[in-house]
């Protein structure tokens, strides 16, 4: 490898099958100027130690696979230039607040189940009727939800969220932002069906508004903002239930 600089990676190792305790293993890597942390891990796996387990796919910051803790911060490893960590060492760990399956692989199945709970799809009766053309939606109406639709499900926000460490039942920033993304979509009529999953202590009201989710988000989804909007909408609805006379049309 025609390398220029050297850096040491300290990689978290854990193998459920050998019964051993987790430990950090150091690897020295010669790297090129444009290498990201993921490139170094891939090089180590290819050339030195094929037992390392990690996820990656696109290497361009959009598939959401390669999230990990890099020097204690949740990062996309394909989006973290090695040279920014010089002279090292760079400590690489699985995303925190998740069970670890092996090495840098976390258990994502819980997240996937929670995602479905917010019913993240357009709910209305004529959704499969394409005969009348597209539903109209102005650029301003798109702007109401667009940033919240940019989530790549990388789960960095779960690793950043302090509530997740205290309250594992919390629905979490990404799932709440996604539910809110559909609530704010002018085409959707399913807000009422999402209320149960999204409100309550495991939902919107579980958030203590530290805002770390929006800080670590690599795609500017602003989950904290989505949750705030959700709280306001939910509170308005709560007051409306008192103010409106019984039997009044919603």
């Amino acid at each position: 490898m025609a390398g220029e600089k050297r850096i040491t990676l300290e990689i978290f190792r854990y193998n459920p099958e050998d019964g051993g305790e987790p430990f950090f293993q150091s690897y020295e890597v010669e790297y090129l100027n444009h290498w990201v942390v993921l490139d170094a891990i891939n090089w180590i796996k290819d050339e030195i130690d094929g037992t390392i387990a990690h996820r990656w796919t696109c290497r361009m910051g959009v598939c959401g696979s390669c999230g990990m803790m890099v020097n204690g911060e949740p990062k996309l490893s394909c989006h973290s230039l090695l040279r920014d960590y010089a002279p090292g060492p760079v400590r690489v760990e699985p995303l925190q607040h998740f069970p670890v399956e092996k090495d840098l692989m976390i258990d994502k199945s819980g997240f996937m189940e929670r995602l479905a709970e917010v019913k993240p799809y357009i709910i209305r009766d004529d959704v499969n009727d394409t005969g009348n053309g597209e539903y109209l939606q102005t650029p301003a109406q798109i702007a109401a939800y667009h940033e919240h639709s940019m989530c790549i499900n990388c789960m960095l926000c779960y690793a950043g969220c302090p509530v997740m460490s205290l309250e594992p039942a919390f629905l979490g920033p990404a799932a709440l932002a996604l539910g809110q993304r559909y609530n704010l979509d002018s085409r959707d009529k399913g807000q009422a069906e999402r209320v149960d999953a999204m409100s309550g202590d495991e939902g919107l009201w579980g958030c203590t508004f530290v805002g770390e989710c929006s800080v670590v988000c690599p795609k500017h989804v602003d989950p904290a903002g989505a949750i705030q909007k959700g709280k306001i909408a939910a509170a308005k609805q709560w007051y409306a239930n008192f103010i409106k006379p019984k039997g009044a049309k919603k």
Partner: protein, 592 residues
Amino acid sequence: MAETFEHDVVVVGGGGAGLRAAIAVAERNPELSVALLSKVYPMRSHTVTAEGGAAGVIKSNDDLETHCYDTVSGADWLADQDAVEILVNDAPRQLIQLEHWGCPWSRERDGSVAVRSFGGMKNQRTWYAADKSGFHMLHTLFQTTLKYPTITRYDEHYAAKLLIEDGRCGGVAALDLRTGSMRAITANSVILATGGAGYVFAFTTNGAIKTGDGMALAYRAGVPLKDMEFVQYHPTGLPGTGILITEAARGEGGIMLNRHGRRYLQDYDLGQPLEVTDPRHPQNRMMELGPRDRLSQAFHYEREKGNTFKMEEFEDVDAVHLDIRHLGEKRIDERLPFVRELCRDYQGIDPVHEPIPVRPVVHYTMGGIDTDIDGRTALPGLYAAGECACVSVNGANRLGSNSLVEILVFGERAANTATEEAGELKRPNPDALRTQAKDEAKRIQQTLLNGANANGGVRPAHVRNKLRKVMEAGCGIFRDAGTIQTACDALAELSEQAARMTLDDHGGAYNTQLINALEITGMLEVASAMAHSAHARTESRGSHQRTDYPERDDAQFLKHTLAYRQEAAAPRIDWKDVTITRWPPGERTYGR
């Protein structure tokens, strides 16, 4: 040992085509149970990286006929025209359906969908969601699958083998990555939607998962691979990483410049340039909006003339410039925000202020599993759709934005066929299928996991890296008998090496090195089909340019290649007529 899971339909692959197929089965027959199996979580699938958009006639100044002609001529007449008509006719409905499911297509002021120009398309018809169209399509589809209780997902399962009994496909043997155990996922119908094989080339926009798994599965089961010599080079990839800079950059008005600042495409029969300030710029089917094959070939000639420049920081590769500065920051941020983000993060430049260095990069496999227009393969019970399949609508060169609609149209279509035919054939004996899955687990154990090759073994990554270089050197933008033969020989040698691959990881849980090794054996099969098909086609057409046979030869080669796998021998190449309906072969012209 091999746990068995019974379903009615198994979909292998969770990208756009696979998700669309799973939804179609669930919608069409809620009685059927669908298994949706993918080696990654579905939203990681490569559809997510698609940027520019999806083509479908929607505006009053456009028509279906023109979209058909653009596609057929773009394909250099190798597309099957009945399939193209299906694609074009169904495209608008599919894109509206996706809109109804929540895809945030970019809009006009009045709220109707917006369309943009794309290469090789006479009219504006490419629907887009800024420059993250594939991302939004994939997430919309994935989120929509969550509505259907009849869809059971098998995330992070690697399909190692098709289960075949009584001459029909009855499921797949799949490794559960989490535990490493082999499972028999059985069904009456199996739909392959595993994507393309761009990763068999060294320099590619394709993610690491694009290893042609489904193509290899079908090929090993005796199903022919069609038109595998046609591999698309996209003209604008970032020089170091191969990251795609979307054609939409040119659709919005971006221009290509050589190192002298000349808009060199005018020298390659693509028309004359207009000033970027001219309101008629960019002109469709001209200059920067020519088709990808022609633009990538133009780059090659420019390099030969010394008109490209070297990128020192990337091992002196050659590049040209894609310049979008004249669009201005506002428009770039509105229409091409991802391009700006990618350039800043991965190239260290801001395209608002600097031109983007680019070079051609392997992007798409036009060829694939031979299917009919309803998604059937030659093996009863097996269907295919999307980039892994070859219907064929892309022929010798795909037009940008046709593939994102192909995955919808033919994903649904294959699913409809699979649904209708799911009850027709006698279901194979589950014990026989389970035994096959068990045998596959045993084979993997003996050949790869036992470490029998500890002496003289080869690291899987070394086989893979060599393979990818071999394909680039032998089967690149221009080929000839010599380069192709060299590739064929090297692939044969690599296959022998692959038989001696040695793993560091002998465990079960998340043995990703084992998965890589299995992928590599498939990549070798797919690469071999590509190289031998390229060898057999002694003409130049679309993306297949033979310097020793520079002309298109309709008399002999207005035909699809069919590569059949042979045990311990080169593939057998057969031929199949192209379906011509309304557009007889003609001269392929741009810019005039």
